[in-house]
């Protein structure tokens, strides 16, 4: 992670045959009472690439995420997913459009096992009716078994969590819980994946594992990844584009190298023009 010589290659990284949708935030204004949390924020995440949003505490990173997810309705501006305006779409309807996300403080369902948590990612694909489910009709069974096979093959093997699939999520260590949450998001078969601080609170080893998984997701699935993260080492290593927020405004965006040398960024992070944000 310390070796920065790799950074330049992040942009040239080969894209898979099919890539996810583009996500664009267009002049989004968000106000809480008199506070302007987001002041005309615009940026885009390119299809099939990893884009990072960074910024000091309170810069509005999570507000951006919550606006994209639909928890906050912006006063003006638009959120575009694959060229379609989703600003007014209900939160749950965005899942079917291919928008998935994980949370900063893990939001797993503690009453369910790992497998059941992950299966919930496939919720928006399920069609069986209430009566059909209560009777466990052949149709409902086929659907459930297909979902099981799908998440086992695509997600559980991929993230190497097959040994814990039947455990309740509450007993897992922090790093694994984060991984299960990523698994649940992947089970949604997303076009765009929002990761809110995927490695916060992790040790070096767990961080490297998670970085590897995120890269694999991007390379093998072609998912468009947008992440918020404080771990600058990881951000600079895996992102092909970095967007810097400060006080609700985009102050810089570009490749990791461009952003690192940007005077405004250095100013925001260190308060003086000295060295590299790390």
């Amino acid at each position: 992670m310390q070796d920065r010589s790799e950074t330049a290659s992040a942009n040239d990284r080969r894209l898979p045959a099919t890539v996810g949708l583009a996500l664009a935030v267009d002049a989004v204004e968000l106000r809480f009472g008199g506070i302007r949390a987001l002041r005309g924020v615009s940026f885009s995440a390119e299809p099939g690439r990893i884009t990072a949003v960074i910024g000091p505490n309170g810069a509005g990173k999570t507000s951006v995420f919550n606006t994209i997810s639909g928890f906050y309705k912006p006063a003006s501006g638009r959120v575009m997913l694959g060229g379609v305006d989703i600003t007014r779409l209900p939160i749950h309807a965005r899942a079917a459009r291919g928008l998935a996300r994980t949370f900063q403080n893990i939001a797993l369902f503690h009453g369910l096992s790992v497998l059941e948590n992950i299966k919930l990612g496939g919720h928006h694909t399920m069609r069986a009716g209430l009566l059909s489910a209560m009777a466990y009709s052949p149709w409902a069974r086929r659907e459930e078994l297909a979902l099981r096979a799908e998440v086992e093959r695509k997600v559980i093997d991929f993230l190497e969590i097959d040994h814990i699939r039947h455990l309740p999520v509450g007993v897992l260590p922090y790093g694994l819980q984060k991984r299960v949450e990523l698994a649940r998001a992947l089970a949604m078969q997303p076009q765009v994946l929002l990761l809110d601080e995927p490695v916060a609170g992790m040790n070096r080893e767990e961080t490297e594992d998670m970085a590897r998984f995120i890269l694999d997701v991007q390379e093998e699935w072609g998912v468009t990844v947008l992440l918020v993260e404080h771990d600058m080492g990881m951000v600079m290593d895996i992102s092909s584009k970095v967007v810097v927020l400060n006080f609700g405004e985009v102050i810089a965006s570009g490749t990791p190298d461009e952003v690192r040398k940007h005077p405004g960024v250095i100013q925001a992070y260190l308060g003086a023009e000295s060295g590299v944000p790390a």
């Binding site: 996300r101 099981r148 086992e152």
Partner: protein, 346 residues
């Protein structure tokens, strides 16, 4: 954890009773249950019928409250709706195999309406909203004389199947437990499909459930509708069992009784509903018998002993909840684990 069980396909892993030993025990249990009218006394049989009705109602509340986390205090009144539906249809000659589903459906529709506040309020606030629904419903039971017979009550024609009349505890036993078994299996099925998972997701973290594409409105109303359906069927069975009913039966205490049964039994499990309903019916009864028996030895204080029995019952519930907040089903799970591991210990 039980060892030595290996599944080779997802299909076998997803089965409801995936372990052979469990299937054997269930078979034995079913045999004991369905021969019960042949060997048990009248008293025990009557108790068993009441427990059966309570099991059906508790299964329903356990879906609404245990799985989906929506506290409902109108469950007792829902039984009334089912009961009066059966009475009204029964008087018009509709057979029981249509009246019972109809009772369930009409109550489910009402459950959706009562559940509407759950979209805006949670927890204790929802309990108060459903409490209001309870009082409105019981008011209707007393005043809508043409359907409910008002305060004096109404009769319910016996269930008949051809020439076979479900009269007496023995025959009603099979009607009640036939429904209970079907509905218990349906509850288990629901829990292992995406709808059941969505219920728990809404209970545990509604925000992240919504992100996953769970429509909160739809899911919460589904949970209310399913719970009310069970209550409606239980109410119908109650009507067929007693043959006559007055609005007095559907007091608030009944709703609290079911809530207690869910909590004592274990939130969100079918086994918990069964154990909770049995516990809440049998234990006060056992205490009452104990008190009656001991009245011989303490003739002077017999009047005091009866309320003492209730106090002991209350204390028992508290002790249970303190020792095992997850209810009787969790105690059973622990016992099972110890047996499986014997002679080793966890």
């Amino acid at each position: 954890m039980r060892t030595g069980i290996f599944h080779e396909t997802f299909k076998s892993d997803e089965r409801m009773w995936a372990v052979p030993a469990v299937r054997l025990w269930l078979l034995i249990g079913a045999l004991v249950l369905f021969t019960m009218p042949l060997w048990s006394g009248d008293y025990l049989l009557a108790m068993a019928c009441i427990v059966g009705i309570h099991i059906v109602a508790t299964l329903g509340l356990n879906i609404t409250t245990g799985n989906a986390g929506l506290i409902s205090l109108s469950h007792g009144a829902f039984l009334g709706v089912g009961c009066y539906t059966v009475a009204w249809l029964g008087h018009r000659g509709v057979p029981f195999y249509l009246t019972l589903p109809a009772a369930g459906l009409s109550t489910a529709c009402l459950g959706v309406i009562v559940g509407l506040p759950s979209l805006r309020v949670k927890g204790v606030y929802l309990a108060i909203a459903t409490l209001a629904a309870h009082f409105i419903l019981t008011f209707v039971f007393r005043e809508w004389v043409s359907v409910t017979g008002g305060v004096p009550g109404t009769t319910i024609p016996r269930a008949t199947l051809g020439d076979f009349v479900f009269v007496g505890d023995r025959r009603n036993f099979y009607l009640i437990y036939g429904c209970a078994v079907i509905l218990a299996i349906a509850a288990r099925n629901l829990a292992r499909t995406y709808i059941g998972r969505a219920f728990v997701a809404v209970r545990d973290r509604d925000i992240s459930a919504e992100i996953l594409g769970v429509d909160l409105l739809r899911t919460k109303l589904q949970a209310f509708a399913v719970g009310a359906f069970y209550a409606g069927v239980a109410g119908g069975l109650l009507g067929y069992f007693y043959g006559a009913i007055t609005p007095e039966y559907f007091v608030l205490t009944l709703s609290v009784f079911y809530l207690a049964a869910v909590i004592v039994g274990g939130l969100g499990t079918v086994l918990g509903s069964i154990l909770g309903a049995a516990f809440m019916t049998f234990v006060p009864e056992a205490l009452r018998l104990l008190v009656n028996a001991s009245a011989h030895w303490f003739p002077g204080v017999a009047g005091l002993l009866l309320p003492m029995g209730q106090a002991v019952f209350g204390l028992l519930i508290i002790v249970f909840l303190v020792c095992e907040p997850h209810g009787l089903s969790a105690i059973w799970a622990r016992v099972r684990r110890v047996i499986h591991l014997w002679p080793f210990r966890t």
